[in-house]
């Protein structure tokens, strides 16, 4: 299989993950589209040096999350972008309003966390084990555990405040 074909297959398999990361790390559709493309571009660049030492999904999360946090916000800039709605789903297409409401609440909780916690929370919601979170983030598994308990505490406080 050619390198290009292999890469497109990987992206297609993980497009949902990229979409969820872009939703958590941006506040509007324009930024989300920009970040989505940036992640695909960075993955393409990084794919050259990917040696398969870690699982493809771990590598993917790592590059995507790193790209999300290092992206400099650009104002009033609009390059030639592919509209994300042409690429991936519109959230409202198939969801019922009740689900959308719960989703909004979920995003609002995540967006109130700091950058590190946001990444941890996302990986936790993705169902990653502490060891996997550890290899993506570079924190030790015990530290991941401590931080996740702190996040849970923070979320509880947010709920009480509401």
């Amino acid at each position: 299989m050619s390198k290009e074909l292999e890469f497109t297959r990987i992206i297609k398999d993980h497009q949902g993950v990229i979409f969820k990361i872009t939703t958590v790390y941006t506040d509007n559709r324009e930024d989300q589209e920009d970040l989505y493309q940036e992640i695909v571009y960075q993955l393409w660049k990084a794919y050259e040096s990917f040696r398969g030492e870690s699982k493809i999904s771990i590598w993917m999360y790592r590059v995507a999350l790193n790209t999300a946090i290092t992206r400099l916000k650009k104002e009033k800039r609009r390059g030639n972008q592919i509209g994300i709605d042409k690429v991936i789903m519109r959230q409202t297409e198939q969801y019922d309003t009740g689900f959308e409401e719960r989703l909004k609440i979920l995003y609002s909780h995540i967006k109130r966390l700091n950058q590190l916690e946001k990444g941890l929370m996302l990986l936790l919601l993705e169902g990653k084990k502490y060891e996997e979170i550890s290899s993506i983030t570079g924190l030790s598994p015990s530290n991941v555990g401590t931080r996740i308990s702190r996040i849970k505490q923070k979320l509880k406080t947010q709920i009480i405040k509401k």
């Binding site: 497009q15 969820k20 590190l116 290899s135």
Partner: protein
């Protein structure tokens, strides 16, 4: 919303996304290419344009330096040249360092740490850019007056009233402006600092 409920909503979202996958091979290839083009534009337009303007103005002063024939014009000229030449370098260097963070091999913690450090540095450069930009607004006035009109702004001005009014107003504006800049950037620098502290004390 409890964590368990969040996990349920998230997995429901994942299922929905899974059903709606729309990406094609062509789109993926286009994305990598489009991004490459927009990245070049991103670096080219705002930063380099600003740099060209600064360097153009700086060179204009350098080539007409002999026209500055008294001590205050000379001083203003030197300050303007230094600021116009140094500021774009600092700003471009700072942005370049952020772009150089290796997102492919670093882990999340390393990236966060590097980014917070570079961002802190960038914010400092921006803060000084505002201050220096304000100063240059005043130093460049007597210089351009001398270079373009051949007039000494201070001794050859017919009425001193515009200056008497303008200078206190400028000072008041500068104080208000500095406070705003300081407050704005201090917040960003502090949040970067606390993140660095938190990450450096980990493990």
């Amino acid at each position: 919303m409890e964590l368990e409920e969040m996990q349920t909503v998230w997995s429901e979202l994942s299922d929905q996304i899974e059903k709606q996958k729309k990406l094609t091979d062509k789109m993926i290839i286009m994305m990598t290419q489009e991004k490459y083009r927009s990245r070049i534009n991103r670096i080219a337009y705002p930063e380099i344009l600003g740099g060209i303007i600064c360097y153009g103005a700086g060179l204009l002063i350098v080539f007409n330096f002999s026209k500055l024939d008294n001590w205050y014009s000379l001083l203003c000229g030197i300050i303007s040249i230094v600021v116009l030449f140094v500021l774009p370098i600092l700003s471009l260097k700072s942005i370049k360092r952020i772009h150089k963070i290796d997102v492919a091999t670093n882990n999340y913690k390393e990236t966060l740490l590097n980014y917070a450090k570079e961002k802190k540095q960038f914010q400092k450069v921006m803060k000084w850019g505002y201050y220096l930009g304000f100063i240059i607004m005043f130093t460049i006035m007597p210089v351009t007056s001398k270079i373009i009109n051949g007039k000494d702004l201070f001794s050859e001005t017919k009425s001193i009233w515009p200056l008497v009014i303008a200078i206190p107003l400028a000072i008041i504006f500068f104080i208000v402006f500095s406070k705003w800049v300081f407050k704005h950037y201090l917040k960003n620098i502090n949040s970067a600092e606390s993140l660095i502290k938190d990450l450096e004390t980990t493990d």
